[in-house]
Symmetry: C2
Subunit: 271 residues, 2 copies
């Protein structure tokens, strides 16, 4: 069974999508089989993997609404061993469309349970989608605690929280932790915080160090030792439709995401 | 009648709150009377003005739901001439609570129309809230196109779009412009784009210049000449509960927001 991790934080612009793309790519680079699910109507994760809008004929929206099976939405990406369920703007309407449907918070969980997570391609769809089962599923979420994020939290084993080293991002952390508790009590008792990843860390500025000290003293070992530095190559990569690791493997950002993948695998083994 | 401007962009972390706080403060500094409405459940604008959670007993939530009048929610801030309608996490529940209420998209518009926008303080509430009428109302929104943002767009005369100089932020612009058209046709025919403000501009990196060139060639005069530079003093200020202009008037970020206020006033005169 794959480990299902959700990248969640209602604070905007903290690095959820960048982490889903580059952690996913790094995990695939070390031999794991990865499925990334883009649950954000903005579709930044889909764009970051170079999947054009025209290639998203079946998407996460169809899976949530139930008109398509999850495996029908899977597309291969340029990263060997990493597949994607892309997103379209239709997701904007999902919350309203599902408002009176039963088990509306469980739509994604139910869809993934029905899917043989071996990632097998549909007949003739795309032989490139390899037959090996997924070991990791990463779900990218929009910046809010809406039905899409609740669906992701209900489907997931655990939450990876990207945390920008800024004051406003720190302020939102307690709100996020409270929401996790609520989802754990009412929808998904197995849900826990897998870890907190500090992103856009700038060692030249005091604020980053202050936020790091605060978070480590407050959450201890839950905070990853690996810290992702602010690195312009990371923000350039999506304009080429490539993960940073593919665009510039040697840059400090890519190297940090490779270390993050190694630390994640080590932490998972300890569970 | 005050000009009602909404700071909207569904892309997260682009500088909506920072612009609401510092543009508002800059407008007050040159003699305008300003009301900032915090419509984001995160409550970052309220925190950025130093209004503690304990001082938010009446908030934007109560105004939207209709249990309190808008003027009951107004609190003065440390900035002379600038008042605030604060936000609390209750706003997270507003969308669901209003889902079957009539005119649910017009709740904020109707509440502001009932309020004598002279900002008069309730009996004995707080004489510090001055008697002069507001000339500007700025509404800060969450990073999504949900009912809260739709309420703000329905109540507003015009939209000011903070745009981070990054690829993903550029990708979201066309989605935002489409939503504005939809709100204009169905809810608020007067709504227009007042302008686009480039934020977190870093002249050392090509991406910022590329995004600027793209946006100026695509939207021409709608894009403000004033560009807000990336400046660490801006992100430090909220941890002291102060606008950057109060925290460090001389820094490049504060100076840019003062120029932005001057350009905004000049553009408004041209209308
Ligand atoms: N380590 C980094 N160094 C430099 N830029 C970064 C880094 N991580 C992310 N970015 C850039 O910062 C911006 C915000 O990151 P990203 O879009 O991944 O955040 P998000 O949390 O997914 O945003 P949203 O809340 O809108 O979904 C993007 O333009 C991205 O390219
Ligand atoms: N010009 C700037 N220079 C440096 N840091 C900035 C600048 N503008 C904003 N920031 C910082 O970047 C982060 C994002 O800005 P802000 O919170 O204002 O964006 P937002 O669009 O309101 O985010 P959200 O989508 O979560 O509401 C904040 O931590 C803020 O302090
Ligand atoms: Mg994202
Ligand atoms: Mg904000």
């Amino acid at each position: 069974e794959p480990r299902i991790l959700v990248l969640a934080n209602q604070k905007g612009g903290v690095g959820k999508t960048t982490t889903a793309i580059n952690l996913g790519t790094a995990l695939a680079a070390v031999g794991e089989r990865v499925l990334v699910i883009d649950l954000d109507p903005q579709g930044n994760a889909s764009t970051g993997f170079g999947v054009e809008r025209s290639e998203r004929s079946v998407s996460a929206y169809d899976v949530l609404i139930g008109t398509r099976l999850a495996e029908d939405a899977i597309v291969p990406t340029q990263v060997p061993g990493l597949d994607l369920i892309p997103s379209t703007m239709d997701l904007l309407g999902a919350e309203l469309e599902l408002s009176s449907v039963s088990r509306r918070s469980h739509r994604l969980r139910d869809a993934l349970h029905r899917m043989p997570l071996s990632g097998h391609a549909r007949e003739g769809r795309d032989a490139a989608v390899s037959q090996r089962p997924y070991s990791y599923v990463l779900i990218d979420c929009p910046p809010s605690l809406n039905l899409l994020t609740i669906n992701a939290m209900t489907a997931a084993d655990s939450i990876l929280v990207p945390l920008q080293c800024e004051f406003f991002a720190l302020e939102g952390l307690s709100q996020l932790l409270r929401t996790v508790e609520r989802v754990k009590t009412s929808l998904n008792p197995d849900l826990d915080i897998q870890g907190i990843v500090l992103t856009m860390y700038d060692k030249r500025n005091n604020l980053s160090t202050q936020v790091e000290d605060d978070v480590r003293s407050y959450l201890g070992d839950k905070v990853y030792r690996t810290v992702i530095p602010r690195n312009v190559r990371i923000s350039e990569a999506p304009s080429y439709g490539k993960p940073a690791i593919v665009y510039d493997l040697k840059c400090t950002g890519s190297q940090a995401y490779l270390r993050l993948a190694a630390e994640l695998i080590a932490r998972e083994k300890m569970l």
